[in-house]
């Protein structure tokens, strides 16, 4: 395919397949309405509509926040880390992955705001000038979280937009619509592809990738410190940072695989999103999953080795307590299901890969549920023991965020060049 026809194909793809996307809008709008209504009820009534209680004061909000932020990390891994490693195969999927990151982080960011109870006071977490002599508590991991997630969202957005500029210019030149030409022209800032622009752009994307790479490690490590800094059994552990980061990459690649499998079929992109891409993503899924299995084994082994009473009680609670079914389901989804991918024939089977990825997404949500609820529901004091169950409003907000995420992705697929045109051309030129 010539360079020019590639331009035309990739800039018009969203328009040509618009009915595929429009059909999805019905369930997506339903989910978003569910989210908005549940949020309205939450803001009107208060956190009491959720299932949180004493001692399980953290529930779905923190679980969903950690799950969504984790999913975002694979996008940054693909767009930044694989760029620095000069893995050219990432070129056709990196913008999709970055878009996934943006909307995943947007969904994640909703939960710390909503769980405040008075989300309009969220700015108290930041050091703004005030006459009450107030400063945030910088020793708290919740404040670290605020800065980390804010930095991650900002850098991801900027990295995504800068990478998009040359392709917006290509869309400006190729589109037949005058309105779109003006909009793309404004968004591309007047890019004309001069040698000076390309040199600056290349250097800038490289530097932004250099900045985004440590963020992949640091942000989810800081999120894990929300738990690890607390002196609770099952939480207070030094291996939480790498445990959470590997889990994040695991769930993120699972989401990437789900999106890629759907997209290449619906948009006929088998020549751009090839079996090689799926094979590489499956291998990264296996690497991160294997490390996660090691972390589970390490957790159980170190508790057994230490023989500390409350840690042992927590593990027993996980294995045999009221939520044991969810724990063993988590083990099946995260540990057992992934093992089928060791067989090449099954790894190349797209239906099996899709099913395993869905299992991993469910398993990673259950992991955060088990970590949060098992520890909080039975800690030190005998009196501090309670069950936990998510209410309809908990579920409505969680399921509603799928709609928010899907809506964002649909907008990108419909209106923007979601396959990086210039990077594909450069790869073919080489």
């Amino acid at each position: 395919m010539s360079s020019l026809s590639l331009d035309t194909r990739l800039t018009e793809l969203g328009y040509e397949r618009r009915w595929t996307l429009y059909k999805l809008l019905v369930p997506v709008f339903f989910l978003m309405s569910m989210f908005l209504f549940a949020t309205f009820i939450l803001l009107k009534t208060g956190i009491g509509v959720w299932g949180v209680n004493i001692p399980v004061a953290w529930g779905f909000a923190i679980i969903n926040f950690v799950w969504w932020v984790g999913i975002g990390h694979a996008g940054t891994f693909i767009s930044a880390i694989l760029l620095l490693m000069r893995q050219d195969w990432r070129n056709s999927i990196n913008r999709l992955a970055e878009s996934m990151t943006l909307f995943a982080v947007a969904c994640a960011g909703l939960f710390p705001l909503l769980h405040l109870g008075r989300p309009w006071y969220f700015y108290w977490l930041l050091p703004y000038p005030n006459d009450m002599n107030l400063f945030p508590q910088y020793r708290s991991p919740l404040v670290w979280d605020a800065f980390a997630v804010m930095t991650y969202a900002s850098v991801s957005l900027l990295f995504w937009y800068i990478g998009l500029i040359p392709d917006l210019a290509a869309a400006r030149d190729k589109t037949k619509s005058k309105i779109k030409s003006v909009i793309f022209g404004i968004m591309s800032l007047g890019w004309s592809g001069t040698a000076s622009e390309w040199a600056g752009w290349k250097r800038l994307t490289w530097l932004l990738a250099l900045l985004a790479t440590p963020l992949v490690i640091s942000v989810h490590s800081i999120v894990s410190l929300d738990f690890a800094v607390a002196k609770l059994p099952g939480w207070h552990s030094p291996f939480f940072p790498p445990y959470f980061v590997s889990g994040a990459i695991y769930s993120g690649f699972a989401m990437v695989i789900v999106i890629l499998l759907w997209l290449r079929k619906e948009f006929s992109l088998e020549d751009l999103i090839t079996d090689l891409h799926l094979e590489k993503c499956a291998r990264y899924l296996m690497i991160s999953g294997t490390f996660l299995c090691y972390c589970y084994a390490l957790e159980f082994f170190t508790v057994w080795l230490g023989q500390e009473h409350y840690e042992m009680k927590n593990i027993k609670h996980e294995f045999m307590g009221p939520k044991a079914v969810l724990f063993w389901l988590m083990i099946f989804c995260n540990v057992v299901s992934m093992q089928v991918l060791w067989v090449k024939k099954w790894r190349k089977n797209h239906k099996i890969l899709f099913a395993v990825s869905l299992c991993v997404l469910l398993g990673m949500w259950l992991e955060r549920y088990v970590i949060v609820v098992t520890t909080l529901s039975d800690t030190f004091l005998p009196a501090m023991k309670a069950g936990y169950r998510g209410t309809r409003w908990d579920w409505a907000i969680l399921v509603g965020t799928f709609g928010v995420f899907a809506f964002g992705m649909i907008c990108v697929l419909r209106f923007l060049p979601f396959i990086p045109i210039s990077e594909i051309k450069e790869e073919r030129h080489k």
Partner: protein, 157 residues
């Protein structure tokens, strides 16, 4: 000014070299990045590097100031026996702000060095630039380029 349109990179590069030698090169427009042009035109985006380092240093300093000043000087409050200068905790914020400010600094430097937004470029007036049907490589010179193998050439006001 004259604009020469090429379909292939090879002849375009040769023509660019000739234009540089004759000191009549005004600009080049390409669909992708080419290292050969960076070498030919001695392009080193130093502004982006400077924005990156200055932003990073400002980020570290900002993180240090907003954490150290209230905890060590203004409100010297013992919170659960923790040290006033809790540098591991403060380092996390310093790192995050370093990353944020370095990203913003490098982007601002890129935008300023390229004088964005630039919607009034002369090349945009050329319909062939937007169509690109006859080629995606454009060489802009201040005078006529002799012996060029360009398929098409245009006059640009």
């Amino acid at each position: 000014m004259r604009v020469y349109q090429f379909r292939e990179f090879g002849p375009f590069l040769e023509a660019s070299r000739t234009a540089v030698k004759e000191k009549i090169l005004a600009d080049v427009h390409t669909p992708i990045h080419h290292h050969e042009l960076d070498e030919l035109l001695h392009l080193k985006p130093k502004a982006v590097n400077r924005g990156y380092y200055i932003g990073g240093i400002l980020g570290i300093l900002t993180g240090a100031l907003i954490t150290i000043i209230p905890n060590v000087f203004t409100f010297r409050i013992n919170v659960g026996g923790r040290p006033l200068f809790s540098w591991p905790a403060f380092a996390i914020l310093m790192f995050e702000l370093m990353v944020l400010f370095a990203a913003v600094g490098s982007i601002m430097a890129f935008l300023f060095s390229q004088k964005y937004p630039r919607y009034d470029r002369a090349i945009f007036a050329l319909p062939e630039y937007h169509d690109k049907d006859k080629g995606e490589y454009f060489l802009v010179t201040t005078e006529d380029l002799r012996g060029s193998s360009a398929l098409h050439s245009y006059r640009l006001s």
